[in-house]
Amino acid sequence: MTGAAGSYQTPARRRPFAGLVDGLRHHLPAIIVFLVVIAAWELIAGSSGRRIIPPPSSIAGAIVRESDLLWKSAMATFTEAIGGLIIGTLVGLAVGFATARWAVARDILLPVAIGASTIPLIAVAPIVNNWFGVLNPLSKMMMAALLVFFPIVINVTRGLVEVQPAQLELMRSYASTPTEVLRKVRVPNMLPFLFTALKVATTLAFIGAIVGEYFGGSSTVIGRIVLTSMSSGSFDLAWAGIIIGAMGAIASYVVVVIAERILIPWNTAVRAGGP
């Protein structure tokens, strides 16, 4: 049998970092624009002397000055965000499996989940802080978990339920049990949906944690640093806090992307590039 004329590539076992390096090269124009913006910001802010949006140089100065404080606060906030991400994902997975398996669970839990997602976080924050203790990091984790839960549960349910009928017919022709279908078809089908949800959820987890901190918490957390330095007029420290918070969210997003490439390499190769 001669090799088929069809198009095929060598096995797609590319190392995940190879993809990142390619991505960097691909994004070079964007990186250049970013640097140009920073430079412009520096010039405009410095010369007009406005304090509310300080130039990058004074923000960098604040980071260096208060590096101890910022580091401690970053660790605390990141712990809350990641903790909330884990809690929200685990609960979301459990509810997702339940709603996929039992129609009754679907009828009960899905409306609750949808309802919960429509409550503005800001309204809930003081209640959650009170309930778990305003100084307890768990209260911020629960805020994060609340935001993480909904995209996870929706995507897990979809991934488990929306399977190609032809694949189910195939499994039926093998006289498979529902458990085998779950393990061999539904769960693998669900994984790309789960990672999509996780990418959204990491950002939400940080928002949840920091907003929770705005409503009260220990002083060495990013949210409180931003708040107190805003009100005391040290905007460079406030912006330092904001940027550090953002970097944390971006870093966890990148971790999810790398995890996806390791765990489901077939998926990222199928899609024509891009997150």
Binding site: A5, Y8, P11, A12, Y174
Partner: protein
């Protein structure tokens, strides 16, 4: 040569006794090269038809209307190691009939047996392999893991799994691609993987539902040759649904012509082309005669003046 469809039991097979028993009788050259089917064929051998259909009816309910009769009073026997094609215009019920044999659709009435057992038992015993029009491979599994899937379900041992997967991939010529993912293969290659998967637990019966319908003509002809080679080597009985007259004639020992509304067998054409068949067969006079015969059987379905079936039959490649 051809016999019009006769409903009811054994009479549905061509009336001449000569072509009914072990297909070796009508396919002399293959007799030596078609080994006994391995695995799940019962010891009774050629005397038990591979597939027996008696009085099959299937009606699908329709909202606020009369049910659609997909199959009406279908009776057919397929002998061991035969290669039988089902051909007909859209809506004639050929895919439905294949799924009835595979116990993926339950008939409204009638009996369906595979190797002497009811079809439902045959499905539970995994007596058949099925190939669909789309390859239906799992994106998340490599080629090797895809072919291994049925063996995992029937819990074959690890060493046996590896051995069989290697054998079947060799059979379809894809052993170099074991570590590839389906999306890296062309359509024709994916279908070959699907065929390897259908054969991996060495069923006595292979059900194929227009497996090459989505492929180009050259690939289709090449894969036809592959399927015949596999058929000769494994001695599997094959029930093959197709839209293509040349494909049906080239591959089969018998072609069952079906007509729609309601779905029924309108004709059965014996294909007495010698085995093994190859490119020369496609150019022989007898081949063209048989292709014409099948085409005319399709055209004859609606009698004079009916344009729909005729244009569809002509639209079917050939």
């Amino acid at each position: 040569m051809t016999s019009p469809s006769l409903p009811g039991g054994a009479a549905a097979t061509p009336a001449t006794g000569a072509s009914v028993p072990a297909a070796g009788a009508s396919v002399p050259a293959a007799a030596g090269s078609v080994p006994a089917a391995a695995g799940s064929v019962p010891a009774a051998g050629a005397s038990v038809p591979a597939v027996r259909l008696a009085g099959i009816h299937k009606a699908f309910p329709v909202h606020g209307g009369d049910p659609t009769v997909a199959l009406q009073d279908i009776s057919l026997d397929v002998a061991q190691t035969e290669f039988v094609s089902l051909i007909g215009p859209s809506g004639c019920g050929k895919s439905t009939l294949l799924r009835v044999v595979g116990d993926l659709i339950t008939p409204s009435a009638g009996i369906v047996e595979v190797n002497g057992k009811p079809a439902s038992q045959a499905r539970l015993d995994r007596d058949y392999g099925m190939v669909f029009q789309a390859p239906v491979l799992f994106d998340w599994r490599t080629v090797e893991a895809n072919v291994r899937l049925p063996l995992e379900i029937i819990k074959t041992s690890g060493t046996e799994q590896r051995k069989r997967v290697q054998e079947k991939l060799d059979l379809v010529g894809l052993s170099d691609f074991m570590r590839h993912y389906p999306h890296q293969l062309s359509g024709g290659m994916q279908q070959r993987v699907a065929i390897a998967r259908a054969l991996v637990f060495e069923p006595a019966l292979l059900l194929m539902d227009e497996p090459f319908g989505a492929l180009d003509e050259m690939t289709r002809e090449r894969l036809n040759g592959e399927v015949l080679k596999i058929w000769a080597r494994t001695g599997t009985t094959v029930l093959f649904v197709t839209h293509s007259i040349p494909e049906a004639v080239f591959l089969s020992t018998r072609v069952v012509v079906m007509s729609p509304r309601p779905g029924r067998i309108s004709d059965i054409v014996d294909i007495d082309l010698p085995q093994p068949r190859n490119e020369e067969t496609r150019e022989s006079d007898r081949y063209f005669e048989l292709v014409t015969q099948v085409r005319e059987a399709l055209r004859a379905q609606h009698g004079g003046g009916a344009s729909a079936a005729r244009t569809r039959a002509e639209g079917a490649i050939g």
